[in-house]
């Protein structure tokens, strides 16, 4: 018996628990599922949902007027023919990437801390992609004809142009949305079964029962489930890298100085993960306070996310440096002019320096433990980074377009009130969906949290503790 106890101590030291407090399978289940099933909704939920819902009405109003009047209501015009709609599209898509990174890449890397945050990070991905989708959809001006972007035999005898990055984008984003939805839903099935079995209300029992597809936790089902989950993670990993690479092709395949750069794909992907982790922190810091879940989303989770933010932020800064360097190194008149114009001689120089302040300077605080370990400062830095990543797209798009090759076609861009209301509106859509998700579905993956508890280890299948660990790790790889 003594030996078993010793090995437990060793295990605690080797793998510090990601779950705090004295939890059992039952208590983690109850704690997470009660947030959904408990009848009393916290007041904070109504406040948050209310704000989101009001902003959603702003969105409805905007798109109604947009469809009525046409896209001339936006400030987008020559030479800046691509402004707020694409800035916001890229911003939202980027935010989504952290969700897939957390759920897929961290799973493949066997990072156990992902378990407490993957569910709502995936939900965030879905909702962010939905918000992103609104821009190309409504920027077409005739959203009811958006299906023309897909290849299907039609009476017009027309096909999409597959050599265009914009069509690649259609494929990338629609695949990304579909696979993210599948991944998220598959992860939800066992937890929906838990809700089905715990719901007192008959209506919800039927709804959750239908959604869980009769899941009963059979060992054979788990076996295939884990294979499917791992394969989906393996498929999502190259997918998420490809999506933002293809988004960056929208720019880099063109000839515009400031866009035509080989650094774009990795630089966009790092920026996407950077922005996404900032959004995950913005969502989970208040969530764990309001829903009293500091034992499941611990301070250690926040510190780790802060570190990822710092790492990806530094890659993004490297991207800024390389952009400037290649502007000079290319020895191309237009490239050099673009960089000068962007940084100090152009009318939008302030946006570049705000961007450096938000994305370059602000994250340097994360080197220090004091800031990294403070939820308050992480929240503030995340907000600043979100603004910074928005500015990055503004800088890339507007400063590159407003000074064309010929001075005769130079022009200024300023957004109209409808540009802003559409942006605010999609934030409303996002907030509304997040609050509905928090209310009706388990925000943390219950079955995966159960596996993190020490009780979940099967003892006695190997005399040696270390072998036991190796064995179980080997099993994870195989499954």
């Amino acid at each position: 018996m003594q030996e078993v106890k010793d090995s437990k101590v060793v295990q605690r030291e080797l793998f510090p628990p990601m779950i705090k407090g004295d939890h059992s399978f039952a208590t983690v289940t109850d704690k997470i599922s009660d947030k959904t099933l408990k009848r009393k909704t916290p007041l904070g939920w109504f406040v948050g949902f209310g704000i989101g819902f009001i902003l959603l009405q702003v969105f409805m109003l905007t798109i109604t007027y947009l469809v009525f009047a046409g896209i001339g209501i936006f400030g987008t015009n020559q030479p800046v023919g691509w402004a707020f709609p694409i800035i916001n599209f890229v911003w939202w898509i980027g935010i989504g990437h952290a969700g897939t990174l957390i759920s897929a890449i961290l799973l493949l890397l066997n990072q156990k801390w992902r378990t407490s945050i993957n569910r709502f990070a995936e939900a965030m991905t879905l909702f962010a992609v939905a918000c992103a989708g609104m821009y190309p959809l409504f920027h077409t001006g005739r959203p009811w004809l958006a299906f023309w972007m897909f290849p299907y035999p039609n009476t017009m005898g027309m096909w999409p142009q597959f050599r265009s990055p914009l069509i690649w984008d259609v494929f990338a984003v629609s695949t990304y949305a579909t696979v993210s939805l599948l991944f998220w839903y598959i992860g939800l099935i066992p937890d929906l079964a838990t809700l089905r079995d715990r719901a007192k209300n008959k209506f919800f029992r039927i709804i959750y029962g239908l959604l869980s597809w009769g899941w009963r936790g059979s060992a054979r089902h788990w076996h295939r489930y884990e294979i499917a989950y791992l394969l989906l993670a393996g498929l999502s990993t190259p997918l998420v890298l490809s999506v933002h690479s293809i988004v960056s092709f929208d720019f880099s395949v063109s000839q515009v100085p400031g866009w035509h750069a080989t650094i774009f794909p990795p630089y966009f992907v790092a920026g996407a993960v950077f922005a996404g982790f900032a959004m995950v922190l913005i969502l989970c810091i208040p969530l764990r306070v309001w829903y009293n879940m500091k034992d499941l989303i611990t301070d250690r989770h926040l510190v780790l996310m802060g570190k990822v933010m710092l790492a990806t932020g530094l890659i993004v800064c490297y991207g800024y440096a390389m952009e400037a360097f290649f502007g000079w190194y290319s020895a191309n008149e237009f490239e050099m002019f673009m960089i000068k114009n962007r940084i100090w001689t152009g009318p939008y120089w302030w946006s570049y320096w705000l961007l450096i302040l938000c994305n370059g300077i602000s994250i340097q605080f994360l080197w220090f433990k004091r800031f990294r370990e403070s939820a308050f400062w992480l929240f503030i830095i995340s907000l600043v980074v979100s603004v910074g990543m928005w500015l990055e797209r503004f800088v890339i798009i507007v400063t590159s377009l407003n000074r064309d090759f010929l001075p005769s076609s130079w022009g200024m861009y300023s957004p109209t009130i409808w540009d802003w209301s559409m942006f605010l509106g999609t934030i409303g859509l996002f907030v509304t969906l997040i609050f509905l998700f928090v209310r009706f579905l388990p925000v943390i993956s219950i079955f995966e949290v159960r596996t993190l508890l020490p009780q979940a280890n099967v003892h006695g299948h190997s005399e040696d503790f270390e072998e036991n660990i190796l064995e179980s790790e080997g099993a994870t790889e195989r499954a």
């Binding site: 579909t178 788990w222 490809s242």
Partner: protein, 177 residues
């Protein structure tokens, strides 16, 4: 034994007990068995003798199908049905066909993974006899269950029942058909 039963279900408190019981049940020669747990237990596969699923092959096939669909679609559009020169590139401009081909590979493989898993698992299946045991609701919360079906050739109600009780089970339930 008048009423028709589907099998016997034993309840356990810990995953270790479940794995050990499953191993003994298999060693005793039962084949129509199943285990239920609130989370995946990797040791279960060996204990119950679960064979490696064919799912990965389906996913690979799905991926290949996606790749070929992407290639065939773009070849048909740009070479056969509507050949038009864009940007001075050849009709069959493979490098620019790669992104859609790649995305369709991922899409089809993911469909194969998700729907293949559900299909092989026989889901959706809203009704299953084990749901008739009221305690089974705890299988999605904290308890572990082991099932031996009556169709098992070695099944004998009294003997199997006492055998299952000897496995340190909390309780053994009759599962109504």
């Amino acid at each position: 034994m008048d009423k028709k039963i589907y099998g016997l279900l034993a309840e356990f408190d810990t995953p270790t007990q479940l794995v050990e019981a499953a191993q003994k049940v298999r060693e005793a020669g039962f084949t129509r068995t199943d285990a239920f747990s609130p989370f995946p237990i990797h040791e279960m596969d060996r204990a119950l003798g679960i064979k490696r699923s064919i799912l990965p092959y389906l996913v690979f096939a799905g991926g290949v199908a996606g790749l070929l669909t992407g290639l065939a679609l773009q070849y048909y559009v740009h070479v056969i049905d509507y050949p038009i020169i864009v940007g001075g590139r050849p009709f069959l401009s493979l490098p620019s066909f790669i992104p859609p081909m790649f995305e369709l590979t991922i899409l089809f493989a993911s469909f194969a993974a998700v729907f293949g898993m559900l299909l092989l698992n026989g889901l959706p299946q809203p009704y299953h006899p084990v749901f008739n045991v009221p305690r089974f609701a705890l299988a999605t919360r904290e308890k572990f269950f082991l099932l031996i079906e009556t169709v098992d050739p070695k099944f004998n109600y009294d003997e199997t029942r006492s055998f299952m009780q000897s496995l340190n089970a909390q309780e053994v339930f009759d599962v109504d058909e």
